[in-house]
Each structure stands twice: as C-alpha cells, then as structure tokens.
C-alpha cells in the first residue's frame, strides 16, 4: 500500500506501523472516567467493512501519527491527516 503523507507525499506503507481505530484518540479522562468508560474506549471496536479511520505511525520517517481514512474492503485511501490536527479538532486541547 501507499500512504499519501500530508507532509511528505506518497510513502510506502512499509515505513509505517499500524495501531488501529482512530477512536483511540478519544481517551477518557482518568480522573473522572471509570473502568466501564475506559473499557469501551480500549476494547470495543466498530470494525466497519468500509470506511475506517485509523492510526498509522511513520516510524521509518518523520514520526508523525496519521489518521488515515481507508476502505477496509477495497483498501482505497480516501483521506490522510496528521493525528495531532485531528486530536485538536476533536477538542483535545486546553
């Protein structure tokens, strides 16, 4: 596969390490959330057959975490963003 890196352009997927569903960005606050919330966050997956937002890490590159929107049936990549931008957009900021 080839991942179009938003900064570096097209890169072979072999340069990346895959983590999983980009919902892993949405970590609850450990001081307010309990075991059930963390359980749902860490263990439960939608696992769609189709568009999937997922985290890839450019380990053999610039160390960016990316959110890649990819179709899990065709492997077509529809969108690639810096995870930091996605995280900020989801309100993970002061």
């Amino acid at each position: 596969m080839i991942i179009p890196h938003p900064i570096l352009g097209p890169r072979d997927a072999q340069e990346f390490v895959y983590l999983g569903d980009a919902s892993l960005i949405d970590r609850p606050d450990g001081m307010t959330a309990g075991i059930e919330e963390f359980h749902d966050y860490l263990y439960q997956r939608t696992n769609p057959a189709g568009e999937h937002q997922e985290l890839w890490y450019h380990e053999q590159g610039d160390r960016s975490w990316l959110v890649v929107t990819r179709n899990t049936v065709t492997h077509e990549i529809l969108k690639v963003e810096l995870a930091r931008d996605v995280a900020r957009a989801r309100g993970r900021t002061k």
Binding site: I25, R84, R92
Partner: protein
C-alpha cells in the same frame, strides 16, 4: 546427433549446437530452444508422469500453463523440482531428470494406480482408511505421502543469490505480444516512462508462434523491429524473462526477473532472480490468452497437445511434434494449425471439426500417441495413425492479474470464455487477447487505445498497421460424450470428466466444492487449461449456465515463484541486520562470547585463559564486580530525551508514578503501564534541567516505548509543550558497578563525584577526560555502588579503554549479560522473564508505585477486579532448600505432596541464576499469594525433565536487602 523432428524455419540459432541430457541420455538443441522444443525436436514426447495415475505424459503447451512436462532441472544443490520443460531455456550442459516415477520414466511401477483407477475416484480417501484408527499415521498416511508429491528437494542450501529491487514508471505494460508492444510503443513515443515486462525470453508473444503479417512484414519481424525501437528509447525499460506475478494495492505490482536461469550458473556477482516491486499508477494487462483443450477419451497421451502449441513448435522452434499429425477443433483458430503445418510440409492426416459433428472418441499409444479414432457426423468411426494431435477448444483470456483484487470475470458468449469484468485493480486496463480481443489487429488497436486512455494522451490516434482481423468463430464443445475411456480435464492432478460427474452426484456442485473435492485446478498450473472445462461440465450437469456456475478465485502469483526470490538477501546471517554495541570491537579482541538480544549482539561473557565452562567466567565476573568494580555496556537500553515546559506533566501521565516532583539533578525509577493496566516497561528517568528529562527504557521495548510516547504526545495530549527524540544510538552508555566504581570513575570524570557532591540517584551533565561532554547517573541494577556513564557513541570504545587503563589499579573487569542477569536476580529487579506483558505492578510487588492521585496511562484499568486479586501472583525469590538443589526457569510451583495437575499449580519460576556470592541456585518467580508465603517451603517442578526440587520462598531481594552497598 540428429534432431529427427526438426523442420525448417523458426527463431532458433542453428549455427550453434547446445548439448543437454534428459534422464542421462544426451541430446542436442539450439539457442532459442526450450527444453521441451529441443526434446520434441529429438523425437522425445514422453517427459513426465501424472500425479495420481502416473500416466505417461508429454507437453500439451508451449508456455507457462504447462501441466505435464515437469522435470527436475539441474542437480545437486541447484536441483529445481517441477520445472516446466516448456519454459526452461536450453543452455549448454543442461541436465534434466523426469520425476514422480520409479524406477524409470518409461517403466513406472506406480502406474499400477492407473489400473486401479476405478477405486481412486475423486475424494475416495475421505471414505476409507478409517479403520483401525491407529493405522492412519502408521500405515495409510505414510503410504499416501510416499506416493504423493512430484519433484524432490535437494535438502542442501540453495547456493545462488537473489535480489530485490524497486522500479517506478508511468505505465507498466504486462505482456509483450502485439497488444503490449503497441501499448508500450504508444506510451514510449509520447515520452512516458514505460516498463514492458514479459515472462518469455523473447518478446512478441503469439507473433513469434504465428505466420501472420503485420503491415508488410512477418509478425515476428514486426515485433523485433518494435522491440528495437523501444530499446532505443531511454525512458522505456524492456524486461524479458520477467513475469508479473501479482497486482497489489495502490499500483504496486510484483515481478520476478529470471536473470540467470538460462545459464548453467549465475555469472559472478549476479543473482539468479530478482523480485521487483514495480510502482505504477497505470498499468495495462496484455497477457494474452491461453488455449484450452477438449476432454475426450484418452486425451492425455504424449503427442496430444494444444493446437496453438503444435503450431508454435513448428513456427517458432522449427519442430514438428510428429511426422503425421491431426487437428481437433471447435473453432477457426484450430484450422490455422492444420494450415501452418501443411505449409511446413508436415503431413496433416485429418482435421476433425466438431462444428461439423466430427469428434475424436479415442486414442492409442501408451508412451506416445499412435492413433486416434474419430466419429463423424453420421456416426461412422475411423482410425488414423498419427504421432501428434492438436486440440483447440477455444482461448481463455488470461484474466488472472485483473482478478487479483477479487474482481470476478464475466462470461463472453461470443468467444465462449471469461473476460475481465468492469471491476479490477484501480489503474489497470486490459488490452488484446487478455481482454477477449483475439485478432491481431484487435490486439494492436486495443493496445494503442489502452495506452492512450491510461496516460490521457490527446491528439489523433496513430495509424495502425494492417493485420489479420478474423472474427472468432467457435461453437463450444467441452467434452466428447462418445468413447469409453476416461477424459482428462486437469491432466496433472488426473481429474477426469467422471470425477466431475461424481462431484455432481454427491452434491459438491458449488465451483469451490468441485475444485476442493476433485482437486481440479489445484496443480502447479492452477487450472490454466482445465478449470473452465471443469466448471462448464458442472454447469451442464446442473442445468445452470456457465456464468451462474462461476469461477473460483484467482490468486497470486500468476506463475509459481521460487521462495528464494521472495526472500532475497534476507537469509543466513543476513536474515536481519546486526546492531553492534560501542564496546563490540573491544570485546571481540578479548574473545568475548556474544548473544543475540533482538537485533543487538551483546557481550554474554568474556572467557579468560583456562576457563573451560561458561559458569566459571560468569561467576568470576560477578564476584569481581561485587569485590571491586565491573563495567557493562548498557548502550542497548532505550534512551529518550524529553524536553518542553510540559515535560514533567507529560511524564506524570505516561508513568504510573510521579516525575514532575523530581528535583533537577536527580533520577528516579519509573514504571510504565499499558492502558490496560499491565506493566509495559520500566527504567530510570533523570531530570537534567527544569524542562529536560532523559528516559531510559528496557532494550526490548526501546522502539515500542518511543512510539507509545509519540502517540500520547500527538494523539492524546497535543496541547502539551513536549518534544521527544530517541537518543539510543547517540549515546554509548556503560554501567560501572562495585565498591570501587567511584574511584575508577574519578579517574576519568572531570568533576567532583564524591558521595556528597553526587549522591545516590544523582544525575547530571558532566565532562570526561578533560572536556568531552558526558552524562552521569548514579543508579544501580546490580545492587552495588554503581553509575551509568554516557558519552557520544563515537567515543564509547575510547571511554571503555580509558576507564580500564586509568583504573587498572582496581582490576576492573568487563562483564556481560549473564553476570548482569545474576546480579539483578540477586537483587530481585524485574526484567524480561517478569516483564512478560501479562503482569501488573501488583504482581511485581510494585503496586504502590501506581499513583491514583493523577491520571496516567493504565491507572484506571489496573484497578479491575481480575488484576487486583489478593490471591493473585506475586513476585518472590526462591532458593533450593538443599543448597545443591537445582532450579530451572519455567518450573512450576507445587505444594509438597500435591499431584502434578493444573488445579494444584501455584505459579512458576521466571528467571533462574547461580549466585556465586550465595553459593547456590536462586530464582525469581510468580507465586499465587506469594507475598504471604515468604518463608514457606514447597516444590519447583519441571515435568519436562523430571526435576523436582524442594524450595524455600524468599523476598525477591536476596542480596543486600537493605541496599547498604549501593549507597556506599
């Protein structure tokens, strides 16, 4: 030596003669020959035996679809089983042997199976060999295994090298027949970067096998001229002997170039084959079509081949497969074989055209075709004496690569074949016969069109040269009902029409069931010639249409690939790269023994003269360290610089314990959890400045921890001002441990490191040897007064030599990973055996380190009931009650007298060493409720060896539990 069946013409170099042997018998051929064409020229039709019935077989094709003519090529370590004689290029000295026969190809004892064929129907083995039960492994299966298989493996290391490479282009053209050549020419003339790949050693595809003209020249000559023009274009790369094996995601194609297979051995420095990864957003599949036979009684005799192959041998190789030939066809293309052979002066005794109601109903000739029997439209039968029979059942477009993304091909009734459907790998177009366009002119036209479409070329289309544009006239015939013998569909696996009928009878009617039950299409040719016939017959039997019946799934590779090619250089010692520590060369000079730790090679111990057993060396290293001072290269530990105004707060969130309160100039042991509350890693982290920390990780987790920290930083807390950089490679780091550690270091460190100036757990930037920047940490893994000192990696070797030289009066030794392990077990520090990804801080006796006053990764889920069980595992120390008793890591704890069953299992020993200081084996272990069992006696049992040792449970801190030494 004569070649009795060699006739005029062909693209072989008759000025040179090549010698080769088949089953030890010498023959001759010419450059341009394949093994099959040369054997046929020599009058050899019998080249192999089938898989199940051991039927005598000759080639049915002239290409990679060949199911029958498989040989063991070469000998010794280079022996290649199952090589298709039809694509093996002849070279001088070639050796080939027939396979799957005993004692000889002509007289094969296993041919008894053919006599017993009534018993060996499809799937018979599922219905028998069940009694008595114990006979399967002992009697039946060994018998079956011995009989199965085709060629044999040398069992020696493959002596040849393989390479891998990467290529990029604007357009990849797969196949260099008329469509592929025209596509490449169109793109090449437009100035685009083109790769044209063909599995054959000569480009031109069917043009080399036909007598068609293109424009005013012979097709083969047009191909040669086109290849010459393409070769003159610097932006076009022509790759012969290169099979594209698969279409992968996002325009990545795999291709195998057979660099040296046409030579006796690869030239010096050259690989045998290369695996290319070709990156191209646009590609054209112009892989042609494969002819299919017709099933009729005894249609598998040597001498019966595809009509197109018969004509290819005549036209391209100047070989008549027999002196008297016949042709059996259901379409016009078969008639070309008769015409071409006649033109070559070969006697064509019969043309049997099923469209006129004529069919072949039987053949004769055990080791080679002698005669055929035909039945005409009026039902009269006649026999002809022939040596070769060309059969044409129509042509199947080679849709495989287009279907590698699981697109199903669609049925085209006009040519009675499956053609590529609308879906397919993005960017891949299809042209020529592969697209179901079976005329030469159609190939040129669609090749040109595909290139223009793929590259968005504008402007007028070029004029195409004149070429034959005959329509396909075919009346499908899959099998001949008349005749009594078996009619083969899959020749290699011996699948016959009656097997398909049996599958239907037993309700294995899905095309996948048909394949799996009868093994249709599972042979080395993957059903390239047989599959469509098989499913067409199933369609007939079930009353479904062929498209309703459907095809099985096309999978890569298009043609079989040597495993060595896929592995490339990554084998032997080069399987993975080595990471060497800064002290590696010094240690090598000392004769050190090294050990693989992940990619690293670390010093395991360094034997001294007279030491004959590893324990002697390790014990000495431990005792010398505890007595005076020892040095250990700990560069392999992960090192991460963490800076920014939020660095402390960041560490509080990634570590279970607190770091923001750590004073500048101090370090602290840190415990890192995964989000699921299990211990991830540990190490010490030092605060070198207000906003500057240095983290160390274990060797094993260096990469994973860094990745995790980047995840936390970028994805979880993007607002934090914190920057990370891995400095594992940047700093050489040594542990200096033992009562004289300080004294030794004082010889190299420029600053005051007295206990007052640099107390336990101090850390800081220093200089050594008169100004070289360095870092010093007063931390201890060994339990001794100890430091870790780091210098830029390129000075690591020099620092080690300098410390040893300047501190010579203290008799310093360098110790390896074994001594390191002994000392850490003595101290009860956790490492690999305990940090197993399944253990919590509580298990390790470190539960109190998990602060609940702050949010940190893993804090919440570490509190789940299953992870906080008071009866759960706790880390303990272990010693044998009898000091001579032996312990083994991996042994399980059982109470005295308890039966060795799971219900009594109390835990296991995680790490075991011999403590020279204590004079006996010691171990760490996880024991259920171990914290409440200190002082108890039980057994450590290794059921694998029968070892059963009475042990006493101790605190894990088995040496200097008060820690007096490390504060010294």
């Amino acid at each position: 030596m004569t070649q009795p069946n060699r006739i005029a013409g062909g693209q072989i170099d008759r000025t040179r003669t090549l010698r080769f042997t088949f089953d030890g018998i010498p023959y001759t051929g010419h450059p341009g020959d394949t093994l099959a064409s040369a054997l046929l020229a020599n009058g050899v039709r019998l080249m192999g035996r089938s898989f199940k019935y051991h039927r005598p077989r000759g080639p049915i094709s002239a290409g990679s679809e060949e199911p029958n003519a498989l040989v063991e090529l070469r000998s010794g370590a280079r022996q290649e089983p199952n090589t298709r004689a039809t694509v093996a290029e002849l070279f001088d000295g070639l050796e080939a042997k027939s396979q799957n026969r005993w004692p000889s190809l002509r007289l094969d004892a296993m041919a008894i199976n053919d006599r017993l064929n009534a018993f060996f129907t499809a799937g018979f083995y599922y219905k028998t060999f069940m009694w008595p039960r114990s006979f399967w492994e002992r009697v039946y299966e060994p018998m079956i295994r011995r009989a199965a298989g085709l060629g044999s493996v040398s069992r020696e290391e493959d002596p040849d090298a393989y390479d891998k490479g990467f290529l990029h282009c604007d357009l990849l053209v797969i196949g260099a027949g008329p469509a592929g050549l025209m596509a490449a020419l169109t793109a090449g003339r437009a100035g685009r970067r083109v790769i044209l790949a063909d599995e054959d050693f000569r480009m031109g595809g069917r043009l080399n096998a036909e007598t068609f003209a293109i424009g005013n020249t012979a097709g083969a000559d047009w191909a040669a001229a086109t290849v010459a023009e393409l070769a003159s274009m610097p932006h076009v790369r022509l790759m012969t002997r290169t099979a594209v094996i698969g279409a992968f995601d996002h325009g990545i194609y795999g291709a195998v170039e057979r660099v040296s297979d046409h030579l006796a051995v690869p030239p010096p420095g050259k690989p045998r084959q290369i695996l290319w990864r070709i990156y191209s957003q646009r590609a054209i599949l112009a892989g042609g079509a494969t002819e299919r036979p017709i099933a009729f009684a005894n249609n598998d005799r040597p001498g019966i081949m595809l009509a197109g192959a018969l004509r290819a041998y005549a036209n391209r190789w100047g070989v008549a497969a027999g002196q008297r030939v016949a042709v059996f066809t259901n379409n016009d293309d078969g008639l070309r074989t008769a015409a071409d052979l006649k033109a070559k002066g070969v006697e064509v005794v019969a043309v049997i055209d099923s469209r006129k109601g004529e069919v072949v109903i039987d053949t004769r000739g055990r080791l080679g075709l002698k005669a055929i029997t035909i039945r005409d439209g009026a039902g009269r039968t006649r026999s002809f004496s022939v040596e070769a029979l060309g059969v044409s059942g129509g042509w199947n477009p080679n849709v495989n690569i287009h279907s590698h993304h699981r697109a199903r091909p669609v049925w085209d009734a006009a040519i009675a074949a499956f053609v590529p459907g609308p879906e397919g790998p993005p960017g891949l177009l299809v042209a020529g016969a592969a697209a179901g366009v079976l005329s030469t002119h159609g190939a040129l036209r669609t090749g040109c069109d595909a290139a223009r479409a793929a590259l968005d070329l504008t402007g007028a289309a070029p004029d195409l040269p004149q070429a034959e544009d005959a329509p396909v006239r075919i009346s499908p015939l899959w099998h001949v009902d008349h005749g009594r013998g078996r009619a083969w569909i899959d020749q290699q696996n011996d699948v016959t029409v009656k097997d398909v009928k049996l599958a239907k009878q037993e309700n294995f009617t899905s095309v996948e069931h048909l394949k799996r039950y009868t093994t249709l299409g599972m042979a080395t040719d993957q059903g390239k010639t047989g599959n469509v016939i098989g499913l067409a017959i199933m369609a007939e039997l079930t009353g479904r249409s062929i498209p309703e019946t459907g095809t099985t799934i096309y999978r890569p590779p298009y043609t079989p690939v040597a495993l060595g090619t896929l592995a490339g250089r990554s084998r032997g010692k080069e399987f993975k790269p080595y990471r060497l520590t800064p002290s590696h060369y010094w240690a090598q000079e000392q004769g050190a023994v090294f050990v693989e730790v992940g990619m690293w090679l670390r010093t395991q111990w360094i034997p001294k003269a007279g030491e004959t057993e590893w324990r002697q060396s390790v014990d000495r290293e431990v005792l010398a360290t505890r007595k005076s001072v020892g040095i250990c290269d700990v560069t392999t530990l992960g090192k991460i610089d963490i800076q920014g105004t939020d660095a402390g707060a960041f560490l509080d969130r990634v570590y279970a314990n607190t770091f923001s309160t750590l004073p500048v100039g101090k370090c602290r042991y840190g415990l890192m959890l995964r989000e699921d509350g299990i211990v991830f890693d540990d190490g010490t982290t030092a605060r070198l400045g207000e906003h500057e920390y240095v983290m160390t990780t274990t060797t094993a987790n260096a990469v994973a921890v860094f990745r995790h920290l980047e995840f936390c930083r970028q994805c979880l807390w993007p607002e934090m001002d914190v920057q990370l950089i891995s400095t594992t490679e940047a700093w050489a780091q040594f542990s200096v441990a033992g009562p004289n550690a300080r004294k030794l270091l004082e010889k190299v460190v420029d600053q005051d490191i007295s206990d007052a100036a640099f107390p336990y757990m101090a850390a800081g930037n220093i200089t050594v040897c008169g100004g070289l920047r360095a870092r010093l940490f007063r931390i201890s893994f060994s339990g001794e007064l100890a430091y870790e000192i780091a210098v830029p990696t390129r000075y690591g070797d020099a620092l080690l030599r300098e410390m040893l030289a300047r501190g010579a009066e203290f008799d310093p030794i360098v110790y390896g990973t074994e001594a390191l392990g002994v000392m850490r077990v003595e101290k009860g520090h956790v490492a690999g055996g305990e940090l197993n990804g399944q253990s919590t801080a509580l298990n390790m006796g470190l539960g109190r380190m998990v602060s609940k006053k702050k949010d940190s990764i893993g804090m919440v889920l570490s509190q789940r009931e299953g992870l906080t069980d008071p009866e759960g595992y706790r880390l303990v120390g272990v010693k044998p009650v009898d000091r001579n008793g032996k312990l083994t890591a991996g042994s399980h704890f059982l109470e005295k007298g308890a039966a060795p069953v799971a219900a009594n299992d109390l835990g296991w020993l995680t790490s075991k060493v011999y403590s020279p200081h204590l004079g006996h084996d010691i171990a760490l272990g996880y024991l259920k409720a171990g914290d409440r069992r200190i002082g108890q006696r039980m057994r450590a049992v290794n059921l694998l060896s029968g070892q059963d040792t009475e042990v006493e449970i101790l605190s894990p801190h088995m040496f200097d539990p008060e820690g007096e030494r490390l504060r010294g």
